[in-house]
């Protein structure tokens, strides 16, 4: 996305892209949707937002639905069940990796690192003990608001990673 918008077409300056990317990462929900909306809005107001979202989500959502329908029709075949025995662990491994990458990009440097890792450990324990995510999310956010802030972000956005969902480099085919 960055290569296309910044390098090839020059529609955004690298600084504008970093600014939108940083903002998108603070937004609720899918980061790429927020990024597309911000860039669309910057380029052409509301029309830009609609065009950006249609471009980002139209084809991909259609493909996701078609693949899902196809998958649902073969899900009960024996060979598919066998394959899924391996697909499950691979998928959960990627899910763990994404969470680790997300944690790594959020924790601060220096001694504050230990505090942040402790927050992760406590949130994990609370998640297991409470069995309900909302108190943990709200507690973590309020705790962060009160104690975990730095007056400057601990880590400059890695622009080269900005092609993905969340802070993760993702190669789009």
């Amino acid at each position: 996305m960055r290569r296309y918008l910044v390098t090839r077409h020059g529609w955004l300056t690298p600084e504008e892209f970093v600014q939108d990317w940083t903002l998108a990462k603070t937004s609720p929900g899918i980061t790429l949707v927020a990024l597309a909306a911000l860039i669309g809005s910057r380029l052409d107001g509301r029309r830009g937002v609609v065009a950006a979202l249609a471009g980002l989500l139209g084809p991909s959502a259609a493909i996701v639905i078609v693949v899902t329908i196809g998958f649902a029709s073969v899900r009960d075949m024996e060979v598919v069940a066998i394959l899924l025995d391996g697909v499950g662990p691979a998928t959960l491994g990627m899910t763990i990796a994404l969470a680790v990458i997300f944690i790594r990009s959020a924790i601060r440097q220096g001694s504050a690192r230990l505090v942040d890792l402790l927050v992760v450990a406590v949130a994990f324990a609370a998640g297991v003990a409470l069995g309900s995510p909302i108190p943990v999310i709200l507690g973590g956010t309020v705790l962060g608001w009160a104690f975990l802030g730095e007056s400057r972000p601990s880590r400059v956005a890695n622009v080269e990673d900005a092609d993905g969902d969340g802070p993760v480099p993702r190669v789009d085919p």
Partner: protein, 173 residues
């Protein structure tokens, strides 16, 4: 009425998440406990979300389909797109405050706690497998974590490795 409930579940999960993946704990809590989807379907949805182009967070659309067919997929898509759009009206307020201590801390607290909850959910999903995991499946998981953290391989490759191992091990040697 059920579609509206699904829409609200997806909307709440997306509103309380940073990045698509962190909506997972809330979605699992609501959809599995209500019997609309199974734990196995959650893993299938994550896998489809990863191998298809576009944001990985579109696994929520797959879950919508599994829960209530095409209408559910559309409801989930709309519910997933709305929260990131909140960044547009908030952009003017947030831009100058991105480097403020409070905002930085709140985002960090939310990122750390939601990521910890994703890890809790992953453990729960593994534990919920009625067959229990064999040693090779733990190996696939470990391998997937390692490869995905490097961020260089496309998710299709990682899932392909898991599927290939499952297939090879199922052959009558």
């Amino acid at each position: 009425v059920e579609i509206l409930w699904l829409f609200l579940v997806c909307l709440r999960a997306s509103l309380l998440s940073l990045g698509g993946q962190s909506a997972l704990p809330l979605l699992r809590q609501d959809l599995v406990s209500s019997g609309l989807t199974t734990d196995a379907q959650i893993i299938d949805a994550l896998a489809i979300g990863r191998v298809t182009p576009g944001p990985g967070g579109l696994y929520i659309v797959v879950l919508g389909y599994f829960a209530m067919g095409l209408g559910g997929a559309v409801a989930a898509l709309v519910a997933t797109v709305i929260p990131p759009l909140l960044v547009l009206p908030l952009a003017a307020y947030l831009r100058p405050r991105l480097s403020s201590r409070r905002v930085d801390g709140a985002i960090r607290g939310a990122a750390l706690s939601t990521s910890a909850l994703v890890l809790v959910t992953t453990v729960d999903l593994i534990a919920a497998d009625p067959d229990g995991w064999e040693v090779w499946q733990w190996l696939v998981l470990t391998l997937a974590v390692g490869i995905a953290i490097q961020g260089r391989a496309h998710p299709i490759v990682i899932i392909g490795i898991g599927a290939a191992m499952a297939l090879v091990l199922s052959l009558p040697w």
